[in-house]
């Protein structure tokens, strides 16, 4: 865990200019994605065995290139120690995919501190390369990060840029 960056001061900005009248200049739905969640995913008592948590699927555009930044937030409320891992793959893909400049930061402090850490790492450009940041995943292959230990009531956050 490396987030030595200074905490930046908040900057207050005014309301956005314009109205929905400018809607026509927006991109077509599907060319850009913003998936929003207002809270970390809390894992409650579900028994045992591996389970999939929240999953985001983004279609690769016609250019064949997709830039993706993902913040991951999970809290263990199961009452016992669990482990989490992060998975990246193509759905039902019979073709390989590749990446360059794959960077990430993990944060396992409290929710607020972890949020500040991951965002600071993002803003300061100090995300860590995954390996050398470059790789190719074979057809039907999967890239897995972890598993990370998650004690009861512990939180794990991360930001990925791929």
């Amino acid at each position: 865990m490396a987030c030595p960056q200074d905490t930046r001061r908040p900057v207050f900005v005014g309301p956005p200019e314009g109205t929905f009248a400018q809607w026509a200049s927006s991109d077509a739905l599907g060319s850009r994605w913003l998936v929003v969640s207002s809270a970390p995913e809390s894992i409650l008592n579900y028994g045992a065995g591996p389970r999939t948590l929240y999953k985001v699927r983004i279609p690769i555009p016609a250019s064949g290139h997709l830039d993706l930044r993902t913040y991951l937030w999970h809290v263990n409320r199961t009452g016992s120690q669990r482990y989490i891992a992060f998975v990246l793959r193509l759905e039902n893909a019979s073709t390989a995919w590749s990446y360059t400049g794959f960077r990430k930061e993990d944060a396992a402090q409290g929710i607020v501190a972890a949020g500040i850490c991951t965002v600071a790492a993002h803003l300061y450009g100090t995300l860590s390369l995954v390996g050398d940041g470059t790789g190719e995943v074979a057809a039907n292959g999967t890239l897995v990060l972890g598993p990370y230990t998650l004690t009861n009531n512990a939180f794990h956050g991360a930001v990925h840029e791929v």
Binding site: F20, Q22, A39, T52, K55, A62, H65, W97
Partner: protein, 97 residues
Amino acid sequence: MTGTPEKLFETYAIVTDDPANLGTYASPILDSGTHIRGSWPHCAQRVASQTLQAQANQIATFELALGQAGEPDRIRIQKRTEDEHGKDNEGLYGVDT
């Protein structure tokens, strides 16, 4: 990342009680009631509080302004039909806000 156009790129997390057993990365999805997620209505309220506007049917779709130079002025956010977590999930419908 670079891949075949129109293929779906997935990113997700898995949870397990055994670090040696990751379920081959394709495990059953947690049932409703076994976990809590952020909610779309809550998201829409937060957007509104920052003077951005939300559509009336904000559970399904809402719009906000980005306002960055060179960026699109508006983006529409829509709950995707392929999001399998959106069905029968209390968290997505505001119960846990």
